[in-house]
Subunit: 342 residues, 2 copies
DNA sequence: ATGAAAGCGCTAACAG
DNA sequence: CTGTTAGCGCTTTCAT
């Protein structure tokens, strides 16, 4: 038994009205007699009619779909963000489609250049490999909101956390504990690695303020921001003989990896080495010791990203794309847990 | 400066050919003179033409979009699955849109009943709250693939792991270590909680085989499968005076929560209490001690789900929806780590 | 308050 | 190998 394709026309016929009237009912217009409305609604239910979105989209020139482009969905920070973005979008009647860039410059560029043109109305992008120049040179004019530090002056909104200030705060916390040899894990050579650069700056600034010497042997570069990178970085640091008494890791995954290496080798945390991360992912709250970390307001990040994007999408319809780029700073907190206070 | 809406017609005019020819080029048809092709391609680049997907979809009756419905994106198991599904779908030219059901029956039903009708061509659903009856009563006939144990005989494919056998294997592993008081964390009252029911069955079967008494005080129910639930369940177990010498947790998050509680209270793992989880999420590989777990082949789950779905979508076009429901069993392994072998 | 008809951009017959 | 044309299902003037 094959379900029949049912359209507005069929509903109209059954209800004995015109297509326009059915459309009005479906779209909740006001000027419809209650009687007519009831009749139409009955017909809709009877036929199990569902509007064809493709047709509606074609007609209206929009789809109600936005894309969220993140490096990878199973990086907890982005998974948490994605959950919040999807939830907020839903509240606003928007559907979210996910693009995974793998932090590859090519994929990020593809996404930014709108390879989903005509399918999405807007884009939330977490650029990792794209340089400010790349972004400034963007041709596509689909509304876009960028997540992460501001790196670009084009007509795109940014939702940012003050990475320098947050990294400084994390490092000062370690210094205040009396730690003198504070290492940093998470430096990246890559020119595009904005947040790495900024967190490093905050770390160095804090050392200066605390009157501690900046020892480059305590700054460990990583390839990626995964647990494995943190574990390897920590191992390299220990192997080099540069045992620190504290480590600021540029994200929680690095910190969890580093923690693993430390415990594996019999170092006590925070006894011998104190540890701070960045992101406040749930893992850190259940690690042993629990992880001190910088906690950005993810709810705000996701909510604002969707709101800004929706606003820009609306504006675009009315007045082209001539809207000032806005930058919104989101609050963060230092959450002190056992890895610095056990 | 407003970008002009450019369509096939414009490209055709510029290239001096008909729309059909442009369409042929765009869709990579064979019968096009190289010369013509080049000319058309030049025009496309010149105008920065992008096909309007809504129009194409409307015409073809499909969208190339599939939905992945999971309880929540930041549950690591589902995040890992989502990453793999999105990646595999992309390989097949499909776009994935995410629905978060929050394991709510209402939301799951909405998704299964096709509230995205005409927007998606197919659906991959991980049902948590839906009962077999709910699913059997499904009206919508969008192709669907179910993830998890088979609970339903309708025309939907299933990608499953043998929960009973896997749980049995995990429990037998603990018994083989000489543990006698093996607890289980993760029972659920909910009638819809298939995998909980099955894992519990496997656990009990293993106890019987190992000649161990089944003590219901060692079976701890939970509300959800999050870290917090595991932590609380373990606390309740310890508080009840029923200290076990091993615990089989029905997923890794429960195990990580339980681990936290054990360490917090000074119990050694695996010394006093050995621990096994289920899912093999990355967290478990970096916990201290690292977590022994059942590792389902997630790559296979995601890949097969997409493949089965794509196959069913193709078949539907050809021959309606008359295809046997298929059930595919995916392999799993017991991965022994420190939490049972330290 | 409702109806009639045009057309969004594309693909697929059907011609040639 | 390429051109012409008819809709896909919907919203939206413009009438009534």
């Amino acid at each position: 038994m094959e379900r029949v394709r049912v359209g507005l026309k069929d509903v109209a016929r059954l209800a004995g009205v015109s297509v326009k009237t059915v459309s009005n009912v479906v779209n909740g217009y006001v000027h419809v007699t209650p009687a007519t409305r009831t009749r139409v609604e009955a017909a809709i239910k009877e036929l199990d009619y569902r509007p064809n979105l493709s047709a509606r989209n074609l007609r209206q020139g929009r789809t109600g779909i936005i894309a969220l482009a993140v490096p990878e969905l199973d990086i907890p920070y982005f998974a948490e963000l994605a959950r919040l973005v999807v939830a907020r979008a839903e509240e606003r009647g928007l559907t979210v489609l996910i693009d995974q860039t793998g932090a590859s410059k090519e994929r990020e560029q593809l996404v930014a250049e709108g390879f989903r043109a005509h399918l999405i109305d807007g884009l939330i992008l977490s650029p990792l490999a794209l340089t400010p120049e790349d972004l400034a040179a963007r041709m596509d004019n689909t509304p876009m909101v960028l997540l992460g530090e501001r790196v670009y002056e084009g007509p795109a909104d940014h939702v940012v956390v003050d990475n320098v200030a947050a990294a400084r705060k994390a490092t000062l916390h370690l210094a205040a504990l009396g730690r003198r040899r504070i290492a940093a894990i998470g430096a990246q050579d890559d020119a595009a690695a904005e947040s790495s650069r900024l967190r490093l700056a905050g770390y160095r600034q804090a050392l200066r303020e605390a009157g501690l010497p900046a020892d480059d042997r305590l700054v460990v570069p990583v390839r990626d921001y995964h647990r494995a990178d943190g574990a390897h970085a920590m191992a390299r640091l220990l192997d080099s003989g540069q045992t620190p008494d504290a480590v600021f890791c540029f994200n929680d995954l690095l910190a969890l990896g580093a923690l693993r290496t430390l415990l594996e080798r019999g170092h006590s945390v925070p006894g011998e080495v104190a540890l701070v991360g960045f992101d406040d992912i749930e893992d850190g709250r259940y690690a042993t010791p629990t992880l001190t970390t910088i906690s950005p307001d993810k709810q705000a990040i996701a909510g604002l990203a969707v709101d800004l994007l929706a606003d820009r999408m609306a504006k675009r319809v009315v007045q082209g794309s001539r809207v000032e780029a806005r930058e919104i700073r989101v609050p963060y907190r230092l959450v002190i847990r056992e890895s610095t206070s056990g």
